[in-house]
């Protein structure tokens, strides 16, 4: 009796499971037969009511049926699952090669990008990052930098003079050397990025507005070797671990000795190419040991302290880095240029 019932149930359940066409239906089957209130569960619960001698075989049989149904359910689920995934694929398909417009990002001026790169290198060596006035006095731009009124360097710099007594647009970022020494005394180290101006006609290679990054360090026994090492670090951060620095004599009234700094050409790695005009070197900064007259102007005793100073052409660095061939683009405001960076 019990066995018959169980056998019938098994047949019915298997038929229904095999006839189920979707996963929802299978879930129903699972609940119907194997659930807490399911039919098989109910029968299993009656096993205890059987005479003691029948209990064993009946229990075994019931468990057998349970296992058969469970495994059949599992098999059917898997089969149907595979089928349904295929259907989902049908429903969900999109063309992943097509694109809709991206979220529009803005762009920083390439000068800012190069400037930040350098600022971060120097910040990591404990240099302050300072800002100075673009409209400067004759005193800080020339006089305090050992460029007295008779000095020919003044005429070479094509200065924009503005109305008012002894006022001009700074021709370099160097005036901040003396302003900084006056404010902070020694020891001190700082970099000053900023705009500079030359009163000249513009073309693809000349611009009346350009950017420099000035840097200087005043401390005990600062030497040419120190200058070289610090700038080597910068060169390597900018152009990779193999970049070297070469110094050549160059006259600037506010440093003594004065040098021109070149780094290994990053394009040809020093072999010589069009970019470096076949020299293997790119000239990217001017530098030197701060002239004692400049230290004095900054209120620092040159007997006790010494320092180095350098100036990078940010505009030039950006032109080299991105291969830009027209200097006027930086301040030109053309989004077709600016949106590339």
């Amino acid at each position: 009796m019990f066995q018959d019932e169980l056998q019938k149930l098994k047949e019915r359940a298997l038929n229904e499971i095999r006839g189920a066409h979707d996963l929802d239906r299978l879930r129903e089957m699972e609940i119907k037969y194997l659930g807490r209130k399911g039919e098989l569960t109910k029968i299993l619960r009656t096993v205890g009511e059987l005479p003691e001698t029948e209990r064993g075989p009946a229990g075994n049989l019931a468990n057998q049926v349970k296992q058969v149904l469970a495994s059949e359910l599992g098999r059917a689920k898997k089969a149907l699952g595979e089928k349904e995934t295929g259907k989902v694929g049908e429903k969900e398909w999109i063309d992943v090669t097509a694109s809709k417009s991206k979220r529009h990002l803005g762009h920083l001026n390439p000068i800012s990008l190069v400037q930040y790169e350098l600022e971060d290198i120097f910040s990591s060596m404990d240099f302050m990052v300072l800002d100075g006035p673009e409209l400067e006095s004759d005193y800080y731009n020339f006089e305090a930098l050992n460029i007295p009124s008779w000095h020919p360097a003044r005429e070479m710099q094509d200065t924009f003079y503005v109305e008012g007594d002894g006022l001009l647009m700074r021709t370099h970022t160097s005036p901040m050397q003396v302003r900084t020494m006056e404010k902070y005394g020694a020891p001190v180290r700082a970099v000053v990025p900023g705009r500079c101006f030359r009163n000249e006609a513009t073309d693809a290679r000349h611009e009346h507005t350009f950017y420099q990054l000035e840097g200087f360090m005043v401390d005990k026994d600062i030497s040419v070797a120190n200058l070289k090492a610090v700038l080597e670090v910068v060169a390597q951060k900018l152009y990779g671990p193999d970049a070297k620095v070469r110094l050549r004599p160059k006259y600037y009234p506010f440093v003594e000795p004065g040098v021109n700094g070149e780094v290994t050409c990053f394009l040809c790695h020093g072999k010589g190419c069009r970019l470096c005009k076949n020299t293997g070197w790119l000239e990217i900064f001017g530098a030197g040991l701060i002239h004692p007259n400049v230290l004095r102007a900054g209120g620092i005793d040159p007997e006790k302290w010494s320092g180095f100073a350098f100036g990078f052409g940010l505009t030039r660095l950006a032109m080299l880095k991105y291969g830009i061939d027209d200097i006027r683009l930086f301040c030109g405001g053309d989004l077709r240029f600016l949106n590339q960076f």
Partner: protein, 817 residues
Amino acid sequence: MKISFNWLKDFVSVPKNVTPEALASKLMLTTTEIEGIEKRGEVLDKLIVGFVKTREKHPNADRLSATKVDIGGGKILNIVCGAPNIAAGQKVVVALPGVTLPNGLTLERREVRGIVSEGMICSADEMGLGPSSHAGIMVLSGAAKVGAKVSTVLPMKDVIYEIDNKSLSHRSDLWGHYGMAREVAAIFGQKFKEYKIKKAKNISKSAVKFEVKVQNKKLCPRYLGAVVENIKIGPSPAWLSARLESVGVRSINNIVDITNYVMLEFGQPMHAFDFEKVEADERGSKRGLTRKIIVREAKNGESMATIDGVQRKLDSSMLVIADNKKPIAIAGVMGGGNSEVSDKTTKIILEAANFDFINVRKTSMRLGLRTEASIRFEKGLDPNFAELGMARALELIAKIIPGAKVAGKIVDVKNFKLNQGPIKFDFDFLNKKIGEIIPPAKVVSILKDLGFGLKKVGKVLNVKIPTWRATKDVDVAEDLVEEVARVYGYDNIRGKMPEVRMTTPEENRARKVERLVKNILAKGLGMTEICNYSFAEEKVLRKFGLNPAEHIRLKNSINKNLTHLRQSLIPGLVANMAQNQYFVDSVRIFEMGKIFFREAGELKKGGKSSERLPRQDESLAGMILEKGNETPFYGVKAVAAEVLDVLHIAHKFEVWQKDVPMWANSARTAKIVVGGKTLGIVTELSPAVEQSFGVRHRVGIFGINFTELVKLYRDEVAYRSIPKYPAIELDLALIVTQKTVWDDVLKNIFEAENRLVKEVKLFDVYEGRGVEAGKKSLAFRIVYRSDERTLRIEEAKKIEEKIIQKLGQKFGAKLRA
């Protein structure tokens, strides 16, 4: 300036293993910038000496000759030649087929009007030896061996260095081959062949009487003058003109060439006056034979034609060389046409002088006349060069013009004193500055080779500055450090990181905020950074209703568009809008930059002045133009709000009622208010300005005083606990009159309930179909929440009722159906 390798070798022997290229790179690392290296006469090895056996007129061409040229080894070539000076019996330079000339032409056998030409007879120009003073082919001396390489006959193979003049602006001693040779000697440790002044042998008694009167001794520290008689003006010998031409100077005649030669050799400009053209001094007995050179300031109104034929107006700031009646030269700049040497000249007054460098520069700038002489004098020459130059010039005259005699003695008026030190220089100081121990013997030899006088006193060197470096070039110990460092070689100095105490650099808030804001604008808000000029143009300022008189004016701009300093970033950015609107559909840009005011700011002018620099603020502005967007105001307002939120600055936008800037759309202008103070503006470009700049779409604008913004920035966030109880959000749509201001609505909502209403978000403003004319619909979401318990929906509904009622009373607001 051009420097000849061969000429250098007159004064220094360059080691055999040093090629001209190696010499150049060494000079570049030690002394000067070299812009180019030009090899001259390379081709001479490939050309051969030929003998013109016959020359006939070309049968088919009037101007051509048909020649038979013997090139040795029994070979006779037919050569067609176009030069007018070709003649039988000449020794000439022959280029054979296959040879490439410096001008790029490769020769081949070819037919010229029916005659096959088997080579070419060359001119100096074709050999790359510069324009010849003679027209046509170069004729070689009769002694030249037929068939020999031309290089054996013409020792003109040379390497010419093009020196960057700017790199020598501080080295007046290097403006000639002599000084450059001394550098070469020091660099390679070779002996420098010093030029020893020898007394001229051809000084003779003469009836001529000659005087020099220097009136302004400050502007003329030295003047040497000599009269030379029995001069015969003529062409220079080949070696002389060749040398001049090798460094790009045209040969003129023997006397002029000698003065130029001396200048190129020692850097000392010279001048020769025609004795007869200098006014005779009629005092004394020797009538007609007395001359007096006067060095004086020019008189205002005086004028003189210089040898280039240009009439020059002189004034009292200029120094002239004059005779009794008139100026005959502008000191240190150019001679006068009135006393110029000509073919007929038989007596000259030779000048070797030294003039004040500042005065020469100013005069030359004032006249717009820069000459080979003035560029040298303005560097500040050693007055001793004048003596050297005079001696050398007289030596060359004696050599080239055999009968020439120096009449009487050389006049020398000197009024100068050079600071030759000595400078105390100790090795420890040097090593500390360089950061490398340089062997004392090396230091000594470097300085000695450069001409410094050395005396060792204990551990210190007393260094005497040579006269040619005592011309404001070298005066402190640091200058000597440079001399040693550069000759020792910067390449030999190894980098060594400074050993210093660690510090924490002071934080620069402005820079920190600047970077933060720029990054948010670009990477968060889709704005691109512009860097416009710091300048403004008067015309444009007016268009913006800005008063040029309130702007700082540029005094000497060479660019018509740059007349003033900007006081606002707006005009520049509007121009960017006009420029970019055709290329992109959406222009979203910003700029951060300095603006300039007439009043004094905080920074001092420095030096003796107690004044302060004009105020220079940092300003931030941005603009949005989007095709089809008629109210970009809201776009820029959102951008401004984001920036302030990022900086945690509590702010309000208030309607800007009065005195809206002329360039702004007065109906769409708000102030950004922080703590009761106006920090900036949000607006749109006024239609008038839009039109005058050809901007074809509406432009939203924000402007913020960045200097103030930095002061307001607090890097502080006060944490508030996350709400414990859920909120209820209910949407409302109300119809109000069109001019109803949202801020007022908001105020009234919070007045109706300020404890449980936590947030009100306006999400739609609608006018048009379905809404009565003159009215608009405001749709907004109110967030209700209690901090103490879970709010029930009934409670929220009740508050909503209250709000609707309040807004009904205040604005006649009705629920939208």
